[in-house]
Amino acid sequence: MNKILISLIFSIMLIGCGSSGESSSYSSYSGPMDTATAYTMSPGDSIVKGSETTIVRITHDEGANISTVELVEGSATILRQP
């Protein structure tokens, strides 16, 4: 019985990890950017380019503290404010 319960709890934990929302994972992600992926940027976060020409699309809503950025051309890395 205990084995069944432990397996059930473990399975629920795995499902929970897998279903975490995209926006929350990309709001804290650091590292190379993928194209066609929207990353949430907070004040202090930055982008550094990894190719001669790097173009990003930035979107910002009025009154918002955050912005969204997508890689359009080239390569870039996201650095989060510590």
């Binding site: 940027m41 907070s42 004040p43 202090g44 976060d45 930055s46 982008i47 550094v48 380019k49 020409t53 790097t54 173009i55 990003v56 699309r57 930035i58 979107t59 910002h60 809503d61 009025e62 009154g63 912005s67 359009v72 080239g74 870039a76 650095l79």
Partner: protein
Amino acid sequence: MYRYTITKIFTGLSLVFSLLNADITKIMPLGDSITYDDLRSDSLNFRPAGIRTAYRSHLWYMLQDANFPADFVGSQVAGQDISPPFDANNEGHPGWTSYDISETVYQFLADNHADTILLHIGTNDRSSSVSGVNSILNEIDRYERDTGTHVRVIIALIIGRSSVGNATIESFNANLSNLVNHRINTGDMLTLVDMYHNAGLTAEDYAETTHPNSEGYAKMATVWFNTLMLPYSRELHAYPSSIVSTEYIQGTVVDEAAKSVSFLAQVPDTGITF
């Protein structure tokens, strides 16, 4: 009774304080004689500065009627003696070209900061080139960078002249339209108004070849007023250049209804920090 009087005093004071705290838009009417109000005939039959108003008085009354809190700013004073009174400050300089304005606009702003500039310039250039206007806008950008402020420029395709050919002005306006749209694309805080067509000036609206009469100036004021009344988010328009220099920006689109701005940015060597 005594209590009622005190309540009224407090109500009055709170109204005064709320008016003092209201967001007042500092507006600089900037240009030449069409902004100041100077006729060719003034060289022979001089009109005192106190009665020269151009479009400014008409615009002021419209803004007052709309409860739009405004403060006209500038080193020049003209129209202060008319009734009803209006804010007579301006930067209209009769006879000046766009090149003249480009050499002085930085100091104009340093002396009297403006949130919004109404720019009608180019009539005295007598050329289709807009390089002088480009220099004005560059100087305003330099002022913004130096002071960390954002100035909205509402720039007009200039009015034509009456009873003469307007080929040069039409060519100037076409070049100006291209220049302004290019700069808007790169995140500059510009709004283009078509005074040439939308003011709807006819021959009856001119006091002489170059300058409108009061009816003509009222029509110009309506174009400025209608533009000032449109939704305009200073935050959204200022955002692109607040995180990356305009030379790296392209494709700026501000959606006033959705309250959102989107643009492409080439990432500089120093990166982009949000």
